[in-house]
Amino acid sequence: MPAERLLPTDDSQDLIDLTREICRQDLAPQVDDMERAGTFPEKTFRLLGQAGLLSLPYPEEFGGGAQPYEVYLQVVEEIASVWMSVAVGASVHALTCYPVATFGTDEQRQRLLPAMLGGDQLGAYCLSEPMSGSDVGSMTTRATRSDDGGTYALKGTKAWISNAGHADFYTTFARTSDDGGRGLSCFIVPAQTEGISFGAVERTMGLRCDPIRQVTFEDARVDAGQRVGEEGQGMAIALSALDSGRLGIAAAATGLAQAALDQAAAYAKERRQFGRAIGEFQGLAFLLADMEAAVTSSRASYLYAARMRDAGRPFSKQAAVAKLVATDAAMKVTTDAVQVLGGAGYTQDFPLERYMREAKVTQIFEGTNQIQRLVISRQLLG
């Protein structure tokens, strides 16, 4: 059952219709097999890119769809309700374009964005390191400027990087001085740069079509023109990007929970025990009601944050709330959906067990939910 949506314009309704058509015809028939095999959905990203679905929140003049976050995020939610890995990949791609779009110079935007947003490219976001996860300011990857100032040489290893090995560019954060969190800078590193290598694909619990790997820079040299923002501005750029990226994860988690709820509700109407449909037992009906309440409030909280963002208001706290609410809800709803299906839910004959595994990571990446609470409480008490 498609989610009920209030959309601001006819154009955005058409956009949702297009997304649903592509999801139904192209994504739905292959998601189960692809997730089982863990194949990177290269063709699917190309298809979404060609349809203009990978560049929605960016300006038209650079090839974007000029859509408000309120609309873009609902597209992400729709994709997630059919294929979580692809929705996360799309959200990560939007995240990788954000630094240039927001902090880049006019020259950088004109030079870099059209290709990044053109639909044929995919980005990766290189922030985390093996020894630096939540504590971003402790990263050790270093960018050393050449004597003539023309290039930077990057050295260090990034960890858990989505799209690694498949991406066309790497939005990378590295240390340009020893000044802790104030010593970081942001670089757009083209994939063909010499000195980049990739670790083995991590054997993850879920989201198998969103493979993560280590990315190692061994004196990888980039033009100084690839540095986005000032030296030392990296932390501010990374956190600002994550404020928006988090909303993508909140929307994706909402779509995942919606899919789990839809399948659980359908099953509860069909499956009979003790002479009636199991949905007729209040114990189960109320479980489903709570799931609906959780999904609806997830959607409401990410849309609220999105509207604040679209209105140009501060939204960092609201984004953290949305990420926390929606991803915790996704974990609970997918777990309960397995419960509704009983033994069937625990088998791989139904996608519910996969949804449950996929929900878990949303509580971890783009800032763990403990870090979201940190962001929220600091704003409350600061």
């Binding site: 058409d14 956009l15 297009l18 058509e21 592509i22 298809l47 060609q50 349809a51 203009g52 679905l53």
Partner: protein
């Protein structure tokens, strides 16, 4: 290079399809869409137009809602559309349909170099409109194209049969119907959706085309649907119990149904 694609708005085959009280296909109560088989013709037209700096006009006959079929084709990238919409057309058979299509095409300016159609509609599945239309327009007709190339004022078509494939050439202007093997229709892009809103759509009535209303519609049809009945539900399958002789029982079953 001017290309016209004739398309039909049909009931969604995935929905419950029914007939109206006058035994015509119910087009009001069911969600409709651009016939999937026509999407191949639209795609082929767009590919030819892209390679030859051409223009694609989409033509449909149908009620108000048929505008959705035009919209989809415009979103895919066609340049303009013509909607022939007249209450008198309701219930027309293939003969009347081909007449109205022919008159509409003759009214186009400039005249097309190529007319493309799907191989059949997904609702009526007659498959005769393309040749009837070619006859009325005095154009060579090549049907069931699985491959199509345009060069030097000619169209060359591969036509796959059960036993052999033919290559057929025709001089332009010509009419070609295409199969679902010819290409992979594109999805509209978001930009295409936005652009489609600004593309011209002309709406013509029978009077605009100078077609006498007596010649079309249910009463003018050469055939009528007398009655219909829903297809009976599928019979239960036959279960063969293996008591050591399962193989021979299966062989008997397959033999009875002429599979062996």
């Amino acid at each position: 290079m001017n290309i016209v694609v004739c398309v039909k708005y049909v009931p969604d085959a995935q929905a419950d399809r029914t007939f109206s009280v006058d035994n015509t296909t119910d087009r009001a109560g069911v969600d409709g869409l651009l016939s999937e088989l026509d999407e191949y013709a639209v795609e082929e037209a767009l590919k030819i137009a892209e390679a030859n700096d051409g223009e694609v006009t989409i033509l449909t006959i149908g009620p108000d809602r048929a505008a959705d079929a035009l919209k989809k084709a415009l979103q895919m990238g066609a340049h303009r559309a013509v909607h022939v919409n007249d209450a008198a057309i309701h219930g027309s058979d293939a003969i009347a349909t081909s007449l109205v299509l022919a008159k509409a095409i003759q009214k186009l300016d400039p005249q097309p170099d190529l007319v493309l159609t799907g191989m059949a509609s997904t609702d009526g599945t007659m498959g005769v409109v393309p040749t009837m239309l070619a006859e009325r327009l005095g154009l060579p007709a090549v049907t069931y194209a699985s491959e199509l190339t345009v060069a030097d004022g000619k169209v060359s078509v591969r036509r796959d049969g059960d036993l052999a494939s033919q290559t057929i050439e025709a001089t332009l202007p010509a009419l070609v119907s295409v199969t679902d093997q010819i290409n992979e229709p594109r999805y509209p892009s978001f930009k295409g959706i936005m652009a489609a809103k600004k593309k011209p759509v002309d709406t013509w009535t029978l009077a605009d085309l100078g077609v006498d209303a007596e010649l079309v519609g249910l009463t003018a049809a050469w055939t009528t649907v007398e009655s219909f009945s829903a297809r009976p539900p599928r019979q239960k399958g036959q279960i063969v119990t293996d008591e050591g002789d399962g193989g021979s029982k299966l062989a008997v079953f397959l033999g009875e149904h002429k599979f062996l």
